[in-house]
Amino acid sequence: MTSVKEYKCPSCGAGLDFDPPSQKWKCHYCFNEYEKDQFDASDNEEFLNEDMPELDSYICNSCGAELIADNTTSATFCVYCKSPAVIKSRFSGKFRPRNVIPFRLTKEQAKEIYQKWIKKRLFAPKEFKLKEEVDKITGIYAPFWLFDCKANGFISGEATKVHSWRQGDYQYTQTKYYSIVRRGHARYKRIPVDASKKMDDKYMHMIEPFDYSDLKDFSMKYMSGFMAEKYDVESNEAVNILKDRVRDYISDRLKGTVNGYSSCSINSRNVNISEINQCYSMLPVYLLVNKYKDKSHIFMINGQTGKVVGDTPLCLPKQILFAVAVFLVVWIIGVFGGALFA
C-alpha cells in the first residue's frame, strides 16, 4: 500500500480532479466525468481509522519524484508532473475528517472574483493587479472544528426610556430608569473554528458562513485537485475561541429581547456552555497570499459561497494623488459653482 493516493481516470489513467460546477470527478485528458463511486471502486477508506506512520518524504505515484510538502499539507500537487497527490497518513487516525463541504467555485471563477475585487481597491499597488499574481490563487481545504453546544445565559443591566416635550420656553426631558434581567438558553450547531495555525483566524472568521446543506461525509476523493491542510490546533485549544463566540451570541440574543427602550446597557453577564461536541471538517477556501514589503497580505474567498475578504497594502502615492484630486475638484466646485449661487 502506497502512502500517497492518486485518483486515476478508469479510461485513460490520467489524474482525476474534482470539478466544482458538476460536483463530479473529471478527467482533463479524455473529458470523462465520474460519480463518486464510479471510479476506484476498490478504494476502501476504512483503513483511515487507524493511525498511519508519518514518513519523512513522500513519492509521487505518477513520476516518482519526491513530493515537497509542509508538515501540515495533506493534499497537494507534484511540483514536477502536476499530478494531484493526497497523503493518506495525514487523513488517518485522529486526522480523519468527519465531514467536508466540496468546492462550488472553480479556480477560474475565483480569479474573476479577485479581479473584480482588486479593481475596487483604488490604493492597491499595481503589483497586486498583475496576471501572474492572480494565477497564484489556490483552492485549499482548510481544517475546521465544527462545534455543537448548549449555552445557558444570564444578563442584567439598566435600560432607559426618554420622553421629551416642550412647554412654554422650556424643553423638558424625562428619563425613566429600569433594571433589566434576562435569562435563557439556546443550542448552537456547527460553529466553525479555524484549526490551522497557517490560516489567519480573523479572515477565516470573516468568510463565514458556509452553507451546511452541502456538508458531505468525508472522502479523500474530494481532495483530489486541491490543496489540503491538516489541523494543528487541537480541539481543546479551539474550544476557547468557541466559548468566547458563544458567550457573545447568547448575550446578544438575550439583549435582543429587551425592547421598547431608548437605551440599554448590560453591566453583568454569566454564560454557561455545556454539551460541547466537535467534529473535524474540511471547508473550501480560495487563498491568495501576497508578499509586499515583507508583509503578507491575504485575500480569501469562501470556496462555496464566494464571499470575499482580504487586505491590500495602501500605496501612498496613489492615496496622495487621490486626496489632491478630490481637494481640487471640491475647491473648483466650491469657488466656481458656489459663486453661481451666492
Partner: protein, 273 residues
C-alpha cells in the same frame, strides 16, 4: 483774467454748496421721523415714538425713520424705502447712518432699509427677526405697537453693536468678483481639505471584509428559550432647558447690500404681513 477766475471759482463754490443748502432745507422740513401718510397713528403716539428716536439718534448716532404709506409711486418696497431715505436727507454723520422701516400697505409688506453703519449692525438675520416681530403686530392692524417694537429692536441691536464675524455681501457683485472673493475664502480650502482627507480615509479603510454572521446564524432554530425576563422601574429624572431663540431664522452674520437709485449702498430686507 484774474477776475474771471475768481467769478468762476465763486460759481463753482455755489454749485457745490447749493445742493447742500437745499438738502439742509429739506431736512428741516421733514425733521419728523414718522411719516404716517395714512393717519394710523395718533399725535401722542407719534410724539412718543419721536422722543425715543431722538434718544437713539443722540446715543447711537443712528437715524430712525418710519414710513406708513399705500402709495409707493410704482416702486418696489426696497426702491421706495432706499429713495425715501436718500432723497429726504436722513442719516447721521458722513456715512448717513440710519435705517428706515416702510410699512407698505399697497403690497401689505414691511421693509427695512439700512445705510452707513446701520448696514453692519443690522445683519440679514437681525432684519429678518425685526420684520417678523413687526409683521405679527401689523397683521393685527396694531400699527402703533409695530412701530414701538421696531424702535425697541433698533435700540437693543444698536446697543449690542456689530456682531462678531459680520461681513457685507453685495448682491449686485459680478460673477468675477464672487469668484475672486471665494478664492480668498479660507472656509472653502478647509472644506475641500476635510472632504478630501475623509474620502481618502474611507476608501483606505474599505479594503477589508466584514463579519456577516450574527448571533443567530448558528443557533438551532427554535432552541432559544427565554426562562426569565424582568423589567423593574427604578427611578426617573426630569431636566428642563430653556429654548434659546437663536435658531429662529438664519442669515448668520451677513449683511446683504445693494445700490439704490441715488447711487448709495443700502442694506435691508422685508416680508409680507
Amino acid at each position: 483774467m484774474r477776475k474771471k477766475t475768481s467769478i468762476l471759482l465763486l460759481v463753482l463754490l455755489f454749485s457745490v454748496l447749493i445742493p447742500y443748502i437745499a438738502q439742509v432745507a429739506v431736512y428741516a422740513e421733514s425733521s419728523g421721523n414718522i411719516k404716517d401718510y395714512l393717519n394710523y397713528l395718533t399725535d401722542s403716539e407719534i410724539a412718543s415714538l419721536q422722543d425715543d428716536i431722538e434718544s437713539i439718534k443722540q446715543t447711537y448716532r443712528l437715524d430712525v425713520v418710519i414710513v406708513i404709506t399705500d402709495d409707493t409711486q410704482g416702486k418696489s418696497s426696497q426702491a421706495f424705502a432706499d429713495d425715501f431715505y436718500d432723497y429726504n436727507g436722513y442719516g447721521i454723520g458722513k456715512s448717513k447712518s440710519g435705517l428706515l422701516m416702510l410699512v407698505n400697505m399697497q403690497d401689505r409688506e414691511v421693509y427695512i432699509s439700512t445705510r452707513g453703519n446701520a448696514i453692519d449692525i443690522f445683519t440679514d438675520g437681525r432684519i429678518s427677526r425685526m420684520t417678523d416681530n413687526c409683521a405679527t403686530y401689523l397683521s393685527n392692524a396694531d400699527y402703533y405697537n409695530a412701530c414701538r417694537k421696531f424702535v425697541q429692536d433698533v435700540k437693543s441691536y444698536a446697543k449690542a453693536g456689530v456682531p462678531s464675524g459680520q461681513y457685507r455681501s453685495p448682491s449686485d457683485m459680478t460673477y468675477g468678483d464672487k469668484v475672486a472673493r471665494r478664492i480668498k475664502s479660507v472656509s472653502i480650502y478647509i472644506t475641500a481639505l476635510v472632504i478630501s482627507l475623509v474620502s481618502t480615509l474611507l476608501l483606505s479603510l474599505s479594503s477589508k471584509g466584514k463579519v456577516t454572521i450574527t448571533s443567530s446564524t448558528y443557533e438551532e432554530t427554535g432552541s432559544f428559550e427565554l426562562t426569565e425576563a424582568r423589567d423593574d422601574f427604578i427611578r426617573q429624572s426630569t431636566t428642563q432647558t430653556k429654548i434659546s431663540d437663536n435658531s429662529s431664522s438664519g442669515g448668520g452674520n451677513k449683511s446683504s447690500t445693494h445700490t439704490g437709485s441715488s447711487g448709495h449702498t443700502h442694506g435691508g430686507g422685508g416680508r409680507k404681513f
